[in-house]
């Protein structure tokens, strides 16, 4: 049985509201936020980046189980905001959790689904017996150009899933991916901010991939929406995942627990994985979960998951629940936001 042995999430403490952002650019940010279904987005501290967030999430995952970190045979870090263009995030994480040196490590990139791609790789390595445990991480400090619609949602956060086949708290019954060449969102090498195809990002990109992936996966598994207690869809804003859920036949009660964008914005590679963490924070044995990530460019990774009895022995309380990070937030204004993001030009020494 291959599945999730442990999980951990992390969201930076700072928040900024759409009203605060809109005030700077002369638009009604409050209404705009409502149209996006976003109340606030997370903002990383001045000394946080994709690597520090990945480490925090990985350490939270390890606090919940007593495994030897040296038994982790693979670490994959998915992000679209790796601090280095060349030098892997995964190596720093490996060192910080004490997994070095007998392991393989690499970074993945696939917009918002780079982390779930890591889950699939770990599943394969565990299933084939090549490794005992694999750690898949999705972590981002995403950037929206100032004044761009993305600025209202692009946020920071990350999650880590420990994949193995012993003491599995949630079995991954199957994974399926749907991938095409769709230029809805991209960032060229050396560019600070991403570009996107505006309205083009909706129908042919997000909805086509998420809906097709979910439908095909349920078809393969012989399941229907009502067989799932929880459904998590990629959440670039608060509206898309609800609409995708509705189109597939899911109800809001199945979506709510895994929908975090309204409170923390779009954490990109962290988004679906943090949603899954939030669901696992409350899930009971036998609960079935459908999780569908989406990455621009474009593709969707779907996962059909069943929570096991092992979750009753699992030490969730050893690390903060996602709810803790949502409740324990501090709002900042746009001036502090630009300071935290190092956008104030300082005097040269």
């Amino acid at each position: 049985m291959v599945g999730i042995v442990s999980y951990g999430g992390y969201v930076p403490r700072y928040r900024i509201t759409p009203a605060e952002i809109g005030a700077v650019w002369g638009i009604d940010g409050k209404s705009y936020g409502e149209s996006l279904g976003v109340k606030a987005k997370s903002v990383p501290g001045a000394d946080e980046d994709t690597i520090t967030i990945a480490v925090a999430a990985a350490r939270n995952a390890l606090k919940r189980v007593s495994i030897n970190p040296k038994d982790i045979g693979a670490i994959y870090c998915g992000s679209e905001s790796h601090p280095y263009a060349v030098k892997p995030t995964a190596t720093v994480v490996a060192e910080a959790i004490g997994a070095t040196p007998d392991l393989t490590a690499a970074d993945y990139e696939f917009a918002c689904k780079a982390g779930t791609a890591g889950i699939q790789t770990c599943m394969g390595l565990v299933k084939s017996g090549m490794i005992k445990y694999g750690l898949a991480i999705g972590s981002d400090t995403s950037q929206g150009a100032p004044g761009d619609p993305l600025e209202y949602t692009a946020s920071a956060g990350g999650a880590a899933l420990l994949i193995g086949n012993e003491k599995v708290v949630a079995e991954i019954n199957r994974t399926y991916s749907f991938t095409t060449d769709t230029p809805d969102f991209w960032r060229r090498e050396g560019q600070m901010y991403p570009s996107h195809g505006g309205r083009f990002t909706g129908e042919p990109a997000y909805f086509r991939h998420v809906l097709t992936c979910a439908k095909k996966l349920m078809e393969m598994q012989g399941t229907k929406p009502e067989d799932y207690q929880y459904a998590i869809f990629h959440q670039p804003n608060g509206r898309f995942p609800r609409r995708a859920g509705k189109m597939l036949g899911f109800k809001d009660e199945q979506i709510n627990q895994g929908l975090l964008t309204p409170y923390i914005g779009n954490t990109y590679s962290g988004a679906v994985m943090l949603g899954l963490c939030s669901v696992l924070d409350v899930a009971k044995p036998g609960d079935r979960i459908l999780a569908v990530a989406f990455g621009s460019g474009a593709g969707s990774d779907g996962f059909d998951i069943t929570v096991t009895d092992e979750i009753q022995n699992f030490k969730r309380e050893n690390a903060p629940l996602i709810r803790h990070y949502i409740e324990n937030a501090v709002e900042v204004n746009y001036a502090i936001y630009t300071k935290l993001k190092h956008q104030i030009i300082l005097r040269e020494e």
Binding site: G45, A46, I344
Partner: protein, 136 residues
């Protein structure tokens, strides 16, 4: 900072790895080669020791004139932290306002950026601390 020096310190800076004198059981951070109490008796008996990542604020100060690279964090808090295992270490306390910190506040290690060698250079990571109430 020189890259080789930082690289050698990675275990200390990432995971609070210190040493314990097997003669008197005292724990040191940063690591020492010889125990200052036991001198010759400690030679070859200083063993790696992973310190607890929890402690309390022994003393602290608020910095308004930043060290290079910390300009965006002003005002920030530097503290002497009494770790559960004995040693006191100097570290930054993050994710809170100065008025939230008290002597005796419980803190927990977090992993953060310590600095960088300019925009093209290496990024240094390591321990800082955060108030336990903001962490758990």
């Amino acid at each position: 900072m020189q890259i080789p020096r930082f690289w050698r310190q990675i275990p200390n800076r990432y995971n609070l790895i210190g040493v314990q004198c097997e003669n008197c059981k005292k724990v040191y951070f940063p690591p020492r080669i010889v125990c200052p109490d036991c001198h010759r008796l400690s030679i070859g008996k200083m063993k790696q020791y992973k310190l607890s990542d929890k402690g309390v604020v022994h003393s602290y100060t608020v910095i308004y004139e930043p060290a290079e690279g910390f300009e965006n964090q002003v005002p920030y808090i530097m503290a002497i932290i009494q770790l559960e295992d004995g040693p006191r270490i100097t570290a930054q306390i993050v994710d809170c306002n100065p008025e939230e910190v008290k002597i005796g506040s419980r803190v927990e290690m977090v992993f953060r950026r310590l600095g960088e060698d300019g925009k093209a250079g290496i990024i240094y990571y390591g321990y800082k601390f955060a108030l336990v109430k903001t962490q758990t």
